[in-house]
């Protein structure tokens, strides 16, 4: 066993050095693709964290018409009070408050024509769960005295959709690069096998076992995957250090980075092994 290990390690590193340019290409491709995979994973984690925050902050606003009668107002108020979909009690926003808000939100040219008595008053409600927002919207829309019922669900959905698309693009890119990394690793192993064909034929002749012959080539691919993934982990740590969105709802914890790094190293080692396994099956006749 000791002889075997010493031999396998020596041969692995001499193979890597002999094909150093191809090795470099393979390692860098693995590194770039895994950095993308890792970045996509980390972004996904931070984005899903952000959506949870957004959804928790989802408020349903029942805007009352400026002309709503007191009876209509109290009808809506009492319905809101008994609704099982509302968490706590709704906050009432007076016409005056709406007017103040409009002054902040709208440019002066537009807000100057507004009058307090034209402004809608509103009930600000928090749904029990974010998905209840749509139930509230359909229940209260169109009731007498109600002007409109709004919730930022659509905006959140669009945001989530955009994030999802960005993730898919990143994953697709990363997968393409992973495939090319496998092919590059396969090719370096193939070169190594070719460079060692005399040794291999002598080994077969004198009765070296198949695993003894294969091992240096398998560990060569393994090493390339490992080195590539370690470079990727280093890049991800840097990315985290320079992460522009830390401090807001996209915050990324160290734990997320560690988890992602573990996945990245596992994938790197896996593709290295897959690449060499293919090369050995195809080009090493043992």
């Amino acid at each position: 066993m000791r002889v075997f290990l010493r031999y396998a390690i020596r041969e692995t590193f001499s193979n890597l050095w002999r094909n150093r340019l191809m090795t470099l290409a393979a390692v860098l491709t693995v590194a770039v693709s895994l950095t993308l995979v890792g970045a996509a994973l980390m972004f996904k984690q931070s984005a899903s964290q952000a959506s949870v925050v957004w959804e928790q902050q989802t408020k349903v606003t029942v805007w009352m018409s400026a002309s709503a009668k007191p009876a209509e107002m109290s009808s809506i108020e009492s319905q809101l009070k008994v609704s099982p979909y509302i968490h706590g009690t709704c906050v009432f926003q007076t016409q005056e408050q709406s007017y103040q808000q409009a002054l902040i939100l709208l440019p002066e040219a537009e807000s100057s024509v507004l009058r307090v008595q034209d402004m809608p008053s509103a009930f600000l409600c928090v749904p029990v769960v974010p998905t209840d927002a749509s139930i509230l919207i359909s229940t209260f829309s169109g009731q007498p005295g109600v002007y409109r019922v709004t919730a930022p669900t659509k905006a959140i959905h669009q945001m989530q959709q955009a994030i999802r698309v960005a993730q898919y693009v990143a994953i697709a890119l990363a997968l393409t690069l992973l495939v090319s990394a496998i092919v590059l690793i396969l090719n370096t192993i193939r070169l190594a096998i070719f460079a060692r064909r005399r040794e291999v034929s002598v080994m077969k002749l004198v009765g070296a076992t198949n695993w003894f012959i294969r091992m240096p080539f398998i560990s060569e691919g393994f090493m390339q995957g490992l080195f590539g993934s370690l470079v990727a982990v280093a890049l991800l740590v840097l990315l985290h250090a320079w992460y522009p969105l830390s401090g807001n709802e996209f915050h990324l914890s160290t734990q997320d980075v560690v988890g992602t790094s573990i996945v990245v190293v596992a994938v790197g080692v896996l593709i290295g092994s897959i690449g060499s396994a293919f090369a050995i099956r195809r080009f090493l006749d043992v």
Binding site: R198, M203, V206, A208
Partner: protein, 233 residues
């Protein structure tokens, strides 16, 4: 030790290499395998190395049926078979010592064994003083002696030689034959395929002749071409 029972072998391209060959070689024998090119000599050796399997018949070697032997056992079979070729097949980047040591390292022999046995075997083939030379710095005869040392260093029970003197001049051929005889005297069975008429006639050992894949002669203390007219090949 080696037994062919009605062995036939046809290659994928349709070439019939061996046709219903039966023979028996005892432990410690020295056998010449003769015949023209394409007569099936090399196929015999390849079958004995289990580089090929027979289409029909049985081959017993070292007490095992090697035709039905599972693939993973083949390396262990080969550890008991030494092999020498016409083209030496040495590793050009390794020294004489390393070439011979390689045969021990790759079957997992510990360093101490390698360091005690390789010098011994280099002494036997008369190349102790060239242990640090590369094959390219040696003559053909010397290279073949390194190859014999490599084939014998693991003390195989059988030594197969495929035209080992094919690339050598008479003096070097003679040295190789002396070496093979010494190896044979240690009890190792030697099977040598050859074209060298002079050698076979001089040695007077058992001769098995193949022609077109068929066994046409099996003679103790034979000569190369018994039935050929004088002045023939």
């Amino acid at each position: 030790m080696i037994r062919f029972e009605n062995v036939s072998k046809t290659y994928k391209n349709g070439t019939v290499a061996l046709r219903d060959v039966s023979l028996n070689i005892e432990k410690g024998e020295f056998v010449f395998l003769v015949g023209s090119s394409g007569s099936g000599k090399t196929t015999c050796l390849r079958l004995l190395l289990r580089e090929e399997s027979p289409d029909a018949g049985r081959i017993l070697e070292l007490g095992r049926d090697i035709g039905t032997m599972p693939k993973w056992r083949v390396p262990y079979l080969r550890r008991n078979i030494g092999c020498v070729f016409q083209d030496f097949r040495l590793l050009p980047t390794k020294t004489v010592f390393e070439n011979v040591a390689f045969a021990q390292e790759v079957i997992g022999r510990p360093r101490s064994t390698v360091e005690s046995q390789v010098p011994q075997i280099l002494e036997l083939v008369g190349l102790a003083d060239k242990r640090n030379n590369l094959p390219s710095e040696l003559s053909g005869g010397e290279q073949q002696r390194v190859a014999v040392a490599r084939a014998f260093v693991n003390r195989p029970l059988v030594l197969l030689a495929d035209e080992p003197t094919g690339n050598l001049d008479p003096t070097n051929s003679e040295q190789i034959m002396t070496l093979l005889e010494r190896i044979n005297k240690t009890g190792t069975t030697v099977v040598m395929a050859t074209h060298d008429k002079g050698l076979v006639d001089r040695m007077r050992r058992r001769v098995i002749e193949l022609d077109g894949g068929e066994l046409v002669r099996d003679q103790l203390r034979g000569v190369y071409g018994l039935d050929e007219p004088a002045g023939g090949f």
